[in-house]
Symmetry: C2
Subunit: 375 residues, 2 copies
């Protein structure tokens, strides 16, 4: 074993992701690699898709993990659903909303952004007013803004989007696995997430799901998807056997990240075995414990209580505190990682993650005790 | 541990990839996940880049693993180097040459393909004639054609490309780690590979390298790279700290697949510790042992000896043999995977891989013995 890895120290991951990984997932990722067309692997692919559908509360056939990280899922949704000149509206209140607009713009969409205060949820009244004025082809929003800790009202926005007639794209990279996601009930047409947040799997895959409406838009494109690697027509030929002329047989597209898929399978099984209600309750409880502990210490949260994410806690940095020094001390002296602020919130907040396997009382306690010694 | 993984049986991987993974690499991939901006991980990223440069015989600063499989590496090279209307020539004699033309076409390039016989190397005389007639912006070729087992004369082609003035793109998904790759000496401007072939790492990453000329073309683009996830300007801000205004600090782009990078690091160390000369000799020896054994049994190779790849052996299927039944019996009765033919070679050849850790005399012997019992 090489030196750099021999000296690797386990860290308590309480940043914006990656999160702690369960022992069963580490065992899974190191299982023997098999072929990407081996019937055993095809069986595992089917099981992963079934588990994703179950946890996402969707009947969408097109539900599978993209062979890249969460941002590859974002790219996948846009590049498959957008053609030159399509009218796209992004509801943006953080880094990942901004990123959506950037990705869509690079693909030739006519992008409108409605920008909301970083740290506050998207205002549905303003959205309703805008949607009454203009028709869109696609409207995108981030469910759980990792950069601010804000929960956006995706269900209510979904109702407005349906009236407008646009496709509805939701980013739940940070939400999925920690708070409910109801793809079908909320009218979500395209969805993506990542493995390294509340699924508590190492980073490397991005679950996506397309509604029948989104799949139809994909099939009726006037132009080929300008990205071969992420073309869902081709990827479905491998993952579901559904592509023109394949007759249900799995067609080779690219070599799937075999061991990462083992890990995702084990991570999804962990959640299903614990039960989603119990998992969500555990996140909420750890979140409340953290907020109480921080407020006891005179620290303040960025986000108003009703819009707070349990798994991503934005904490205001007290005046006179060197925020980077605190993070460095936590990491080097206590082996605890927390995150910095991004963009306009750099230097103003810390981001404390309670994602998946991390969301446990003993971890919250360990962080609070460590904070006492470094602030 | 979930059931599907508990019953997973180790397979002798002798197909076109993935290949056998060394024990040290399995140990590495299951090491504790740490943060993607943790100084320890940044140190590992630097080490991976140094090892890649050393094994690729290049001084290219821009040398890093893309967070996707080999095809993501192909997409990366084209999407960063091509703009609308660029003149591209693909020298094609197999599936992966065809794929190059498809990827470039989707990105709006004016693509010419020179198609050579599948199973024969690219003819440099014909290439020289064509390059005398027309100037290109980029010329692409596959070093080791995984679909046919042919080694293309990339060094000689490189000389012709230099005279033409085009950028030179080489796919060595299957070659890298099994035969010499000399990026600088051969004048290669853009290069990509995959982890699951001769590097003997699970699939999931794609090493790429850009020469200073290619990096300059990237910097002088008239339009933004139409793919945010694979934009090397942004990725370099994370991997090398070199992007506008970053001042050497690593800027978050996407969350790198941490554990896959541990695995790649360990896999590169395995090769460096064994020594490349020894590794290449081991591939050649196993290849000769396989060819001798197959010919002793009356089987014939597709490719002429001087153009054969040691790590990918295309074997003609004898008349009257049900090729799929043989592969199924090898897998189910002997736990050995070999590959089928693709495209026009489907049903006509088997593809036997001797990649990386797989290329050992005991594996060749085991396959030959198994073949005796199933053909």
């Amino acid at each position: 074993m090489p030196d750099l890895l021999n000296t690797l120290r386990a860290t308590l991951l309480m940043g914006p992701g990656p999160s702690m990984v369960a022992p069963a997932v580490y065992q899974a990722i190191a299982k023997p690699t098999i072929g990407h067309l081996d019937p055993v692997f095809i069986g595992l692919m089917d099981a992963v898709q079934d588990d994703l559908r179950s946890l996402l509360n969707t009947g969408n056939t097109l539900t599978l993990p993209i062979s890249g990280t969460g941002s590859a899922g974002m790219e996948t949704c846009f590049v498959n659903l957008i053609e030159q000149g399509d009218r796209v509206l992004i509801l943006s209140n953080g880094v990942f909303g901004t990123r959506m607009a950037e990705v869509a713009g690079r693909l030739g969409a006519e992008v409108d952004s409605m920008d909301f205060n970083w740290g506050r949820p998207v205002d549905t009244q303003q959205v309703a007013a805008r949607l009454g004025e203009k028709k869109y082809d696609l409207i995108g929003v981030v469910h759980a803004e990792t950069s601010t800790g804000v929960l956006n009202p995706v269900q209510q926005i979904g109702e407005l989007v349906r009236e407008n007639g646009a496709l509805y794209l939701v980013d739940s990279v940070t939400g999925f696995g920690g708070i409910p996601v109801e793809i079908d009930a909320w009218g979500v047409d395209a969805f993506y997430s990542g493995t390294q947040k509340c699924l508590s799997c190492p980073p490397g895959l991005s679950p996506v799901s397309f509604s029948p409406r989104a799949a139809e838009k994909l099939q009726n494109r006037k132009t080929k998807v300008p990205n071969w690697y992420l073309d869902l027509n081709l990827i479905c030929g491998y993952w579901t056997g559904e592509s023109s002329g394949s007759g249900g047989k799995r067609a080779y597209h690219h070599t799937a990240p075999i061991n990462m898929n083992y890990a995702l399978y084990a991570a999804l099984r962990e959640i299903i075995n614990e039960g989603t209600e119990a998992v969500f309750a555990r996140h909420l409880k750890a979140h409340q414990q953290l907020v109480d502990g921080l407020e006891d210490r005179g620290l303040a949260m960025l986000v108003t209580p009703c819009a707070r994410l349990p798994m991503l806690n934005a904490v205001k940095i007290p005046q006179g505190v060197d925020e980077a020094a605190v993070r460095t001390a936590l990491l080097s002296e206590h082996a605890i990682e927390i995150g910095a602020g991004l963009g306009p919130l750099a230097g103003k907040i810390w981001r404390i993650g309670l994602m998946g396997h991390t969301a446990r009382p003993e971890n919250v306690e360990r962080l609070l005790t460590a904070l006492d010694s470094v602030i």
